[in-house]
Amino acid sequence: MSFISYLINGVSLGSIYAIIALGYTMVYGIAKMLNFAHGDVIMIGCYIVFVLMGSFHLNSTVSIIAAVIGCTVLGVVIEKIAYKPLRKASPLAVLITAIGVSYFLQNFALILFGADTKSFTSVVSIPTIKLAGGDLTISGVTIATVISCIIIMAALMIFIKKSKSGQAMLAVSEDKDAAQLMGVNVNKTISLTFAIGSGLAAIAGVLLCSAYPTLSPYTGAMPGIKAFTAAVFGGIGSIPGALIGGILLGVIEILGRAYISSQLSDAIVFAVLIIVLLVKPTGLLGKQVQEKV
């Protein structure tokens, strides 16, 4: 029974990674950049909910909506100020700038909210389910997380397949210049990508802090790195890849922690990533690109 409950916890954690990984993978697919600050957007989203619920006593739904809007705006503003001027510069320059943005967000939160770890109250009011005569418990957060992940994935796939903006995103990720020639507004599409990715980050953040109820300015950093790992694992640029990568990563982490060593669980996750990339150098669902001579 404990194996199944570990598995469920793994899927739950993996769902959070998957939602965060979406932000990485979409931005990478379209802007060809590693948005290192994405993990810190998650943290900002959590603080918004924390403050609105704790200090302003708003209800959780309103707080979450506010956090999503706040993060969406934040993502778009970051893109406009820090990344857009560098669009034609070396990818390494963009990476370092993103690191700068990450430092900025962390220290901004540090000044505003202090370095101490806040305890976050879960926003999920779904009751815990007991199965198999109480041997197997599934917490409300887990249920909410998995359902959110499924809804987000489905909505995103439909959006990209059916809507005009979604098609524009596909076109830009395929070939930016060609898309521009065909009349796609590249700047708008990139902004939209950042908006969606950052909005999702807020949701992921709230779920993360509901499951692991602590909040500090560095809360977003490690899950951010792990979610990026998940995106690479599944094949960066691929949305189903983010889902598969995220869930596998979550399951491996929880099972590794339970059965091998709690201190080595991160090492196990990274080791699996390395093995996957050595066998499939562009991730599980990534496209193989051959250099033309």
């Binding site: 001027p85 220290n107 201190q263 991160d266 990339l277």
Partner: protein, 361 residues
């Protein structure tokens, strides 16, 4: 025809000499300031870390600037160098070995062990490209840090005992002593990293790096960076030279780690000192200092480490300002519009140079 050719060599030599001279000049100035009491003890405490960052940045520059591969795992090589040398020093402390000789051996051991790790990790990793390589080096760095945190090594009259569970399972005799105590790390490493030692290691790293990039091997490494397919077509063994550059780069980072280990009496593998954050910090030095410019790496390491200290009066705001300065510098140095504006007003970059191999320094 000979003349023009001589000129290019002189240019490289000149640039090299300027860098050596800069390091030595800084050393002399600092020594004077210390002896006249003009330097606060806070600043004195920063001297060795500055040397460490400079050394690791020189090593990473070989990898990023010359080989053209982005590594986010150099903190891992530092970590390996630090721990292997600290274990050696600790074991030899009671042997009565001459202290200088012991430190030199520790330095050699740390460097060689880091090189071996660089080589072993390089074999699989260097087949990957770009961001995939970056994330895998980051993964290796994190694995190294995590594994060291669960290592227990002890020594008693019967010899060495090793475990990855806890200190109790070492089953040591009563006279046993812990060497590596899991997450608590290594306690009581001799403090032998002085500013002089740091400067000497910087000079050695510079000597190795300069001479490497200005040799047949260095040209092959840069050829791979500039055009892999063309390099292959003129008979350059891609795998061999990539691996060589990566290994040497890791070895220099390892030397930085040795200095780190012998600077503090307690050595632990924390996210702050050997995690990916450290790798990223060093990468920031390399990129801001100018890829391919060793002098730039040192200047950036010093300026960016000092910046938060200079801003200390601003308390909590200092890291925020640091972040803003970093973003502005990147935009100013790299944004196409900023470059255009600078050229119009003939302004120089804030510091550092753009990647240009003609200015091999």
């Amino acid at each position: 025809m000979k003349k023009s050719n001589m000129k290019s060599i002189n240019k490289q030599t000149k640039s090299m000499l300027i860098t050596y001279a800069m390091v030595i000049a800084v050393f002399i100035i600092v020594e004077i300031m210390i002896s006249t009491g003009m330097m606060s003890s806070l600043m004195q405490g920063l001297l060795v870390p500055l040397c460490i960052y400079s050394i690791v940045a020189i090593g990473l520059n070989l990898c990023v600037g010359y080989l053209g591969e982005l590594s986010l795992g150099h903190a891992g090589f530092m970590c390996v160098g630090a721990f292997s040398s600290a274990v050696f020093s600790k074991c030899m402390m009671t042997s009565g070995m001459n202290e200088t000789l012991r430190f030199i051996l520790a330095l050699l051991i740390g460097t060689v062990v880091a090189a071996v790790f660089g080589w072993l990790i390089g074999i699989p990793v260097l087949r990957l490209r770009g961001d995939y390589l970056a994330i895998v080096t980051l993964a290796f760095g994190e694995i190294i840090k995590n594994v060291i945190n669960v290592m227990y090594l002890g020594r008693d009259s019967k010899g060495f005992h090793f475990s990855i569970k806890d200190s109790a399972s070492l089953n040591m005799q009563a006279d046993g002593k812990m060497i590596i105590d899991g997450a608590k790390g290594i306690v009581g490493t001799p403090n032998q990293s002085t500013f002089v030692v740091g400067i000497i290691i910087i000079l050695i790293s510079l000597f190795v790096s300069f001479n490497l990039v200005n040799s047949r091997t260095g040209r092959a490494i840069m050829a791979i960076r500039d055009n892999r397919i063309a390099a292959e077509s003129v008979g350059i063994n891609i795998t061999k030279y990539k691996l060589m550059a990566f290994t040497i780069s890791a070895a220099i980072a390892g030397a930085g780690g040795v200095l780190y280990a012998h600077n503090l009496s307690t050595l632990t593998a924390l996210p702050a000192n050997f995690g990916y954050n450290m790798s990223i910090m060093i990468l920031v030095f390399v990129v801001l200092g100018g890829m391919g410019s060793f002098r730039g790496s040192i200047i950036a390491a010093v300026v960016l480490t000092m910046l938060p200290e200079v801003l200390r009066g601003l308390a909590d705001y200092r890291m925020l300002i640091y972040a803003i300065v970093l973003i502005i510098m990147m935009l100013f140095n790299w944004a196409p519009k900023a470059i255009e504006w600078r050229e119009k007003h003939s302004l120089k970059r804030m510091f550092g140079k753009k990647e240009k191999a003609e200015e091999v320094q």
